[in-house]
Amino acid sequence: MSVIWTMVAKRLGLGILTLFVISLIIFGATELLPGDLAKSILGQSATPETVAAFRKELGLDLPAHTRYLNWLFGALQGDFGTSLANKRPIADLISSRLGNTLFLALYAAAISVPLSLALGVLAALYRNSIFDRAANALALTSISFPEFFVAYILIFVLAQSGLFPSMAQVDARTGFGEMLYKTFLPALTLTLVVTAHMMRMTRAAIINLLASPYIEMARLKGMKPMRVILKHALPNALAPIITVVALNLAYLITGVVVVEVVFVYPGLGQLMVDSVAKRDFPVVQAVALIFAAAYVLLNLTADVLSTLSNPRLVHRK
């Protein structure tokens, strides 16, 4: 047993190291800019005095490693500095929006994960049937759609008639039930986009195993098709399925960017897009760091879970 925990500990260590390097990249990327950052943001017309003042404000007069350490330790305590655009503390900008974004992502995940696993298992069970072919073509189609296309179609079909609001305007006072109603269309958009991918991968992971001798053995023992899939194929397909679920959850977190813009939903994604347009780089850095951290953590969880799902690793010789 201890071997497996050493492996898990190693993965965790690697995850933390990855996060550290990512923070370096996110911070260091600004250093890549040719010329002076302050000048490039203020434009050619700025006077040397304004540039100097702006440099001081950005802390550019300090050496890079000092600035990085200040930034990192600040971020660890929830202090991301102040926005260039409106001079407000970034932490204030982020806090409520982070909750909104997580809410939307979890909402979509709660629908799409069970749905896609069930559809994937069914498609594998009835493989090459009309149901499977139709589900496959439909999935392929919906994977190919840009998110904003799906979003506008939903608005066109469901919001036109006034069934659901086309704008997900929520604030801190919005109740849970109302949140669910108002964010239904964005959540449905995300669900449609990720379900197809997860379903296809679940189906493929199971079908890959159906040619294995141990599946043939189960069938030759007279087991029913459903039992063959659930008891014999699924436990061995867990690792790829977990990976693909994590990948899609991670995608949900970043996929919200476009969806939030379409539905004017006050989340992190919208904040990021606005800040990119304004070149408000401290905000972009902060949001990028949060997205990247969520992404790394999800992948790490998937990695650990799929290690734990492998009997060869859990029960050593």
């Binding site: 040619a211 294995s212 001798p213 141990y214 043939e216 053995m217 189960a218 069938r219 030759l220 023992k221 007279g222 087991m223 029913k224 039992r227 014999h232 436990p235 061995n236 009997p311 060869r312 029960h315 050593r316 010789k317």
Partner: protein
């Protein structure tokens, strides 16, 4: 009551099975009849493509994906498996007809414990409760002579060795006490010394429960030990059927006779080498990966026009020895001499001429030939690289080489490997080695993936080429029959050490090293009483 007087259990009449390739169906089993009585064991033998596994599965009313049963009747104890519903067939499978697959390691589900897989069929078919099934499992593990029968079931498949898994699988097949078991090459993947234990355990348990069986194998000597009667198949057709003893002593058909005859080929005994420098000399080599030594102080020489067979079971280190000689694995200690001069340990430091002099032929021609290159380039490349041949001269050389390996140049020169048979691919491997005009060739299990008749042809070809071009061979094999037919000298390896070495005639005469003795005595013989006699003998020795 003899077995043929017992009631009939399985009657197959005019069985036809089709297989699909490239969207078209072609017949792979062409009208086979089988009659099996209760408690009777039928051996199905034939080379690859004979359709034996397909027929075995059809006896369970089962066809693999891409196959379909297209004609005939399969009557199992009054039920026609072709017309029965899928539910009826499921009811029979696992309960009254069971299956033992070739590779137990692949056929056990890696996610579940052995005992859970044992109890699945009895519990799901409603024969026993889970607790009863687990008690029964321990009992059958004991009867299959598995070590620690009380405990072994609680392990996962990857925690158990191949020979033990194969016995656990036979026990699992027995769990519902079926009337019929299909054994599909159950010992083919095992080493000979392990094979004996599995064969004897299978034979005993089938006799104890009076179970009928269809025993599928390509190994005549094995089927001779197991079956009451033998049916010979060729390309989906029946050649002949007879009871085991008369089939062995008096085969009627030419094809059967040719199968029986391949084991008799042996090259003429060569006079012993006196003096001279060996072409290749392995001196005190110790090598391995990481911290583990796979080879421990190995010494042997290979002389011009001589074949040294390196024999051992899996894990003995024989293939590692080849990797040291080719320079893929530099040794920790010792060295390899070529014509008396030391070879650089790493192939990357060897000169082009040193690389040219030592060539290799691989076990699996499928992976040894680049599937995207035509024979012209596969064979021509070494000639072009080492000998600088170009244009017309190169084409002439390629044609010569194709002649040498008995393939018609005009027909084959522009083919891809996928357009060749297994034996032809192996011949291309030989031609590629010859194209470099080497002095020394390593043959790594070159015949073990081939049918016996095809393998025979390859061995004869290698023999002829050796005398024609004064080649020295190092022949890696696990098969003592191959050693008998081709070796001049034998090196027996076990756990990375050489346990015995010397000229072939000496090696097959006692006294032996105990391991060589075990290895030699474990090779099945065509005598139906061989296994019984051998087990008696070993029991006598063990008792004193």
């Amino acid at each position: 009551m003899t077995k043929t007087e017992k009631p009939v259990l399985l009657t197959i009449r005019g069985l036809r099975i089709e297989g699909r390739s490239d969207e078209t169906w072609s017949e792979i089993v062409k009208g086979v009849d089988i009659t099996l009585h209760k408690g009777e064991v039928l051996g199905l033998i034939g080379e690859s493509g004979a359709g034996k596994s397909t027929i075995g599965l059809a006896a369970m009313g089962f066809a693999r994906d891409g196959c379909r049963i297209s004609g005939g009747t399969i009557d199992f104890d009054g039920v026609d498996l072709r017309t029965a519903s899928e539910a009826e067939r499921r009811e029979l499978r696992g309960q009254r007809i069971a299956y033992v697959a070739q590779s137990a390691a692949a056929s056990f589900n890696p996610a579940h414990k052995l005992i859970d897989q044992y109890s699945e069929a009895p519990v799901q078919h409603g024969v026993m409760s889970k607790a009863e099934a687990e008690r029964d499992a321990v009992e059958l593990y004991r009867r299959m002579r598995l070590p620690n029968p009380d405990e072994i079931g609680f392990r996962y498949p990857h925690q158990v060795s191949g020979g033990q898994l194969q016995r656990a699988m036979t026990a699992m097949a027995m769990s519902c006490r079926p009337d019929l078991i299909i054994f599909d090459e159950p010992t083919t993947a095992l080493d000979v010394t392990t094979q004996i234990e599995v064969l004897s355990a299978i034979r005993d348990i089938v006799a104890q429960f009076d179970t009928a069986a269809i025993y599928i194998t390509h190994d005549l000597a094995v089927v001779a030990q197991m079956a009451d009667k033998i049916k010979v198949l060729l390309k989906g057709d029946e050649v002949e059927e007879a009871d085991t003893r008369s089939m062995l002593s008096n085969p009627r058909e030419d094809y059967t006779k040719s199968l029986w005859a391949v084991r008799t080929y042996a090259r003429p005994v060569q006079p012993p080498v006196t003096g001279g420098t060996p072409v290749v000399s392995v001196k005190a080599v110790t090598a391995g990966y990481g911290a583990v030594d796979i080879l421990k102080n190995i010494n042997f020489d290979v002389y011009k026009r001589r074949t040294v067979a390196v024999v051992g079971e899996s894990g003995s280190g024989k293939s590692t020895a080849a990797r040291v000689i080719t320079g893929l694995l530099p040794p920790r200690q010792g060295q390899v001499l070529f014509d008396g001069k030391p070879l650089p340990a790493d192939y990357r430091s060897r000169s082009r001429d040193q690389l040219r002099q030592a060539q290799m032929i691989y076990q699996m021609a499928d992976t040894a030939l680049n599937p995207k290159l035509r024979l012209r380039e596969l064979i021509g490349r070494p000639a072009q690289m080492y000998l600088g041949l170009q244009g017309k001269a190169l084409t002439e050389r390629i044609r010569d080489l194709l002649h040498l390996i008995e393939l018609e140049p005009d027909k084959y020169i522009d083919r891809l490997p996928s357009e060749l048979s297994g034996g032809q691919k192996q011949r291309i491997g030989i031609a590629r080695a010859l194209a470099a005009e080497p002095k020394f060739i390593i043959c790594d299990e070159v015949t073990s993936a081939l049918d016996q008749l095809v393998a025979e042809g390859i061995l004869k070809l290698l023999d002829r080429l050796q005398s024609e071009f004064d080649l020295a061979y190092m022949f890696i094999t696990h098969d003592l029959a191959t050693v008998k037919s081709i070796a001049d000298e034998v090196v027996v390896m076990k756990d990375g050490r050489v346990v015995e070495q010397g000229p072939k005639p000496e090696m097959f005469q006692p006294p032996h090293d105990p391991y060589t003795e075990l290895l030699l005595s474990s090779v099945p013989e065509m005598d139906p009483d061989w296994l019984t006699r051998l087990l008696d003998e070993r029991r006598r020795k063990a008792n004193g």
